[in-house]
Symmetry: C2
Subunit: 288 residues, 2 copies
């Protein structure tokens, strides 16, 4: 059973009618406070002996991506770290240093966290942000006739993964992502809906169709692909579907009455589109 399915089951039981957006949000005067948490673990998201500087930024980026997708501004960050008893303290220290300065570059305060022993290395980030009430970006609210846009070139992280598996690229390239906070602020108050593509484009389209109950029709022939993505399609027989059905990409996907940022990739239509699958599900894949 994939992550989406399990989460759906749990929401159905305990959901209190909360919409399933990138962040939880609660009203506070003229704004919403945004809360989000993301967990990354060795074996699932990164390999042993990964570069700690890149890992530190990755932990931050996956959490801030959710705030970006809501059009928000990041404020605070906490981290739960769990490490084996014989873990390398220098490694942890390097991860923390990178994480700390990366947060600082976005004006976000690191508020500490928790450190516990565990049999694996893992990090659970918790980010807090805010967004003006009239600017929040949710997943529901697309209209037929909207254009569909993405914030940047697609397929880089999936392509990096395949190139790494073939021994042609270092694993760290898979983890190199930038949280799209500036892009999210440009969309805030202007786009009709937004979400990040952390589960891959296919999965995002599938979810947006399910939530909006209308179709998200993408023009597959004119997608803005990253050069690495074009390389693996042309030279290594990886399909476009495989690249777009892959988690770990953190672009923003949006619909609006016009292109606001990035690239226009399709149109919101009446008919639900068949994407031949529900998309990448992190709960049923690991790095093996």
């Amino acid at each position: 059973m994939g992550e989406r399915k399990i989460i759906d089951e749990i929401w159905k039981k305990f959901g209190e009618n909360v919409e399933y957006d990138d962040c939880a949000f609660v009203p506070e005067e003229d704004k919403y406070i945004l809360f989000t948490t993301d967990f990354v673990a060795e074996g699932t998201h990164f390999i042993h002996n990964v570069n700690p500087e890149i890992l530190g930024k990755f932990i931050v980026a996956v959490n801030l991506s959710d705030i970006a997708a809501m059009g928000g501004i990041g404020d605070y960050f906490l981290l739960s770290s769990f490490l084996p008893g014989d873990a390398d303290f220098e490694f942890l220290s390097e991860v923390m240093k990178s994480l700390y300065f990366f947060l600082k570059s976005y004006g976000i305060r690191y508020l500490g966290g928790d450190l516990k022993e565990s049999s694996i290395i893992g990090f659970s980030g918790f980010a807090v942000g805010h967004v003006e009430k009239n600017k929040i970006l949710k997943r529901k609210g697309a209209k037929i006739g909207d254009i569909i846009g993405v914030s940047g070139l697609l397929g880089k992280n999936a392509a990096s993964y395949y190139l790494w598996k073939m021994g042609l690229l270092s694993f760290e390239e898979v983890l190199k992502i930038q949280p799209k906070l500036e892009e999210g602020r440009e969309l805030a108050g202007k786009a009709r809906i937004a979400m990040d593509t952390s589960d891959g484009l296919i999965s995002s389209l599938y979810q947006l169709q399910r939530i909006n109950k209308i179709g998200f029709k993408v023009d597959w022939n004119s997608l803005p692909l990253h050069p690495l993505a074009m390389e693996v399609i042309e030279d290594y027989d990886v399909s476009l579907f495989d690249l777009l059905n892959f988690g770990g990409e953190y672009q923003l996907l949006y619909s609006a009455d016009r292109k606001i940022i990035g690239y226009e990739i399709g149109e919101v239509v009446k008919e639900i589109q068949d994407y031949g699958g529900k998309g990448y599900e992190s709960f049923s894949k690991t790095l093996d």
Copy 2:
């Protein structure tokens, strides 16, 4: 290297002069917003096939205990869950149900979270709360002559652990704790300092001495011990020191100019006391 030492090293490097309290806190008009995160994992905090209802409450309680120790009121809760690919969905669902209704009983909103695959079962909770600025309880600020108080009987969880190891009690007794939120509110604005005893009484006293740079002198002969604690001391040759140097107890420890709640156990003095150790460190012990 124990948890305290590693945390100290990291704080020294990236700390921004944040005091090491139970929660991180940030000002917001006339109150502080409180943030805290706590991670619990199979093998470190609970055994395989543990009762899911009790586990759900435990996850909530360890997080809310930190808010209680600051004199705060709980508002929101998020949860990162990580589970093996072949995890039992019914188990997760039972944990969530228990967690959800336990939060609800304290008027705290569950805001969702994250679910990821991992090689072990673990849960990372994030709790958000608040406390009036003039009522916040920190760890620093004790005065010579203050009484030292605890919110309840000591040694129950450690005693339960020893009785479980001897096959005389079910493991679940170790996890049965109540977050002392009401007690924290009674102390708020009245006690001089407070913290929870989640690393055990000895460790808490050690930390309070280090932070306040004065002595916390406890009267060992008149400590309020739980009946189970007295039982293991009398019948099973477990020392008082072992019971009080054990993590997993969640009473509130405070100093004040008079007894406010619970039991008076000593006095704040000029001379630093020798506690024969730095106390339980969760990073250097597991359930084995």
